[in-house]
């Protein structure tokens, strides 16, 4: 992946930067310029915010046939999570035995390596989910 393309999204990948429509209150992640519900009524009213990072697992899949960069993780879990702000995110669920994953479990985001451009390239960091245990 182009370094600049990834870098542009770092605020969202590191700190879950999102936007809330000032007209209807709907939250969007990643941020977008116009609300998909209110359209032109939302122009100039999209407010920047950060998701708090906690949510509930809505669905998941255990990956046994992984892309080359994720071979070392398999079998691993990919989850769809409804964040407490209502928006849905998809990412890897880590620090968990796939057998222990349950729909409805509480998870939180944590920063992990999500990829790299080979051994000499840039390392990419972003959010992954981990079970809330503490």
């Amino acid at each position: 992946m182009a370094t600049a393309r990834f870098w542009r999204d770092n605020p969202s990948r590191y700190n879950l930067k999102a936007v809330r429509c000032g007209n209807c209150g709907k939250v969007f992640f990643p941020p977008r310029a116009v609300c998909s519900v209110c359209h032109r009524k939302s122009i100039g009213k999209m407010e920047c915010m950060s998701l708090k990072g906690e949510g509930e697992l809505i669905s998941f899949s255990v990956v046994h046939d992984a892309p080359s960069q994720f071979e070392i993780h398999k079998p691993y879990v990919v989850a769809i999570v409804r964040m407490d702000e209502g928006v849905m995110l998809t990412s890897q669920l880590i620090d968990v035995d796939p057998k222990e994953v349950r729909i409805g479990m509480r998870v939180r985001t944590t920063l992990r390596k999500v990829g790299e451009d080979g051994p000499a390239g840039v390392i990419y960091y972003g959010y992954k989910f981990a079970p809330v245990r503490a």
Binding site: I72, I94, L111, Y124, Y125
Partner: protein
């Protein structure tokens, strides 16, 4: 002006491997190694963890305890480690972005074997004391490696802790800090080498014990204190036995070092070792207690600290982030094959993350 610790946060990866399992693979007596080093398991980072992710987790735990602190008031951030993921490109810039304190600040990565984290604390103390910054963040973290089969493999582990250094609402005043530094080549890693080398027994008397004891005596003299004045003492802990021995040499009891001695359960977290031990002490410390700290870094030097816990610790939201004991108990033991895969000891086709 009282300069000291305003908040702290720790993190330890949850995977563990035992000395018995390492010994099984290399045909060594793992049980004997375990007893000799006083290490019963060591932490292992997941394949997607490194010094940056560990530092971010520790720094976020630190900020969770002080929601009243605006990250934009942090003027400096230093990450001390001997396993920075990049040779050129600071770990600290990513940590700073992740806790929201960039861009009007200074960042640098530190390296001084196992004491780079305490060197970062001293730097932040200077900047805060001089009035150059309101808050400084000092982090010590490592994902240290020992060559396969080397005695270091039984101890080298991963973890880290972060400290918010300031002069307002400090939970722990750092009354004095003294360092003792010489050119002593007891442990090193040349540029481009995957694994460190060490001087075997040379790492003991002329290196660890001489430097730790000298820095400790400097602190006691400067503070005009004696070992019995302290409720807790934290010494660098490359294994479980060295800190016990140096504590006894100096007149500290096993009880004084008990809370801050984590190496038997998680191994030697290098730059994270003393910061994690101090975090474990701050998890339980009471107002008025004094804490004695000496970190050691090969090469070689020792940083000593005389610390007094203040009443503010009762107002700190200690439970807003996981305690060190949570990370120690939340563990999953893995076998050597999984450990070798996680630590990149197996040659793979293509990259991995």
């Amino acid at each position: 002006m009282d300069v000291g610790i305003v908040s702290y946060g720790a993190y330890v990866p949850r995977y563990r491997i035992t000395p018995q399992e390492i010994g099984r693979v290399w045909g060594s007596d793992g049980e004997m190694m375990s007893k000799g080093l006083m290490i019963y398991s060591k932490s292992v980072p997941a394949p997607d963890e490194d010094v940056i992710t560990i530092s971010v987790e520790a720094a976020r735990n630190m900020m969770r305890r002080v929601p009243e602190v605006d990250p934009q008031d942090i003027g400096a951030l230093y990450v001390g480690s001997e396993s920075h993921p990049y040779a050129v490109k600071p770990s600290g810039t990513i940590v700073a972005e992740a806790i929201g304190c960039s861009p009007n600040m200074t960042v640098a990565d530190y390296e001084f074997a196992c004491k780079a984290g305490t060197a970062a604390i001293q730097t932040c103390m200077g900047l805060v004391g001089a009035g150059m910054v309101r808050y400084g963040v000092a982090i010590g973290a490592d994902t240290s490696q020992g060559a396969p089969g080397d005695p270091l493999e039984y101890s080298a582990s991963a973890g880290g802790a972060a400290f918010l250094i300031g002069s307002k609402d400090v939970i722990a005043v750092i009354n004095h800090t003294c360092s003792f530094t010489t050119d002593t080549p007891d442990f090193w890693r040349r540029e481009g080498q995957d694994y460190p080398s060490h001087g075997g027994r040379f790492t003991g008397e002329p290196a660890y014990f001489k430097h730790v004891a000298s820095a400790a005596k400097l602190v006691l003299k400067r503070a005009g204190s004696k070992p019995s004045d302290y409720a807790h003492a934290v010494f660098h802990q490359p294994n479980g036995k060295f800190p016990q021995r140096v504590a006894k040499m100096l007149g500290f009891t096993d009880k004084q070092i008990e809370v801050g001695l984590l190496t038997p359960k998680i191994g030697n977290t290098y730059s994270g070792a003393v910061p994690l031990g101090l975090s474990a002490v701050l998890d339980v410390a009471q107002p008025g207690e004094r804490v004695f700290v000496v970190a050691y870094g090969s090469g070689a030097g020792a940083d000593g600290f005389d610390i007094t816990i203040t009443d503010n610790i009762t107002r700190l939201r200690r439970l807003a982030a996981p305690l060190v004991s949570h990370y120690i108990e939340d563990r999953q033991v893995i076998d050597y094959a999984t450990y070798a895969k996680f630590r990149g000891k197996i040659r793979l086709k293509g990259g991995s993350a």
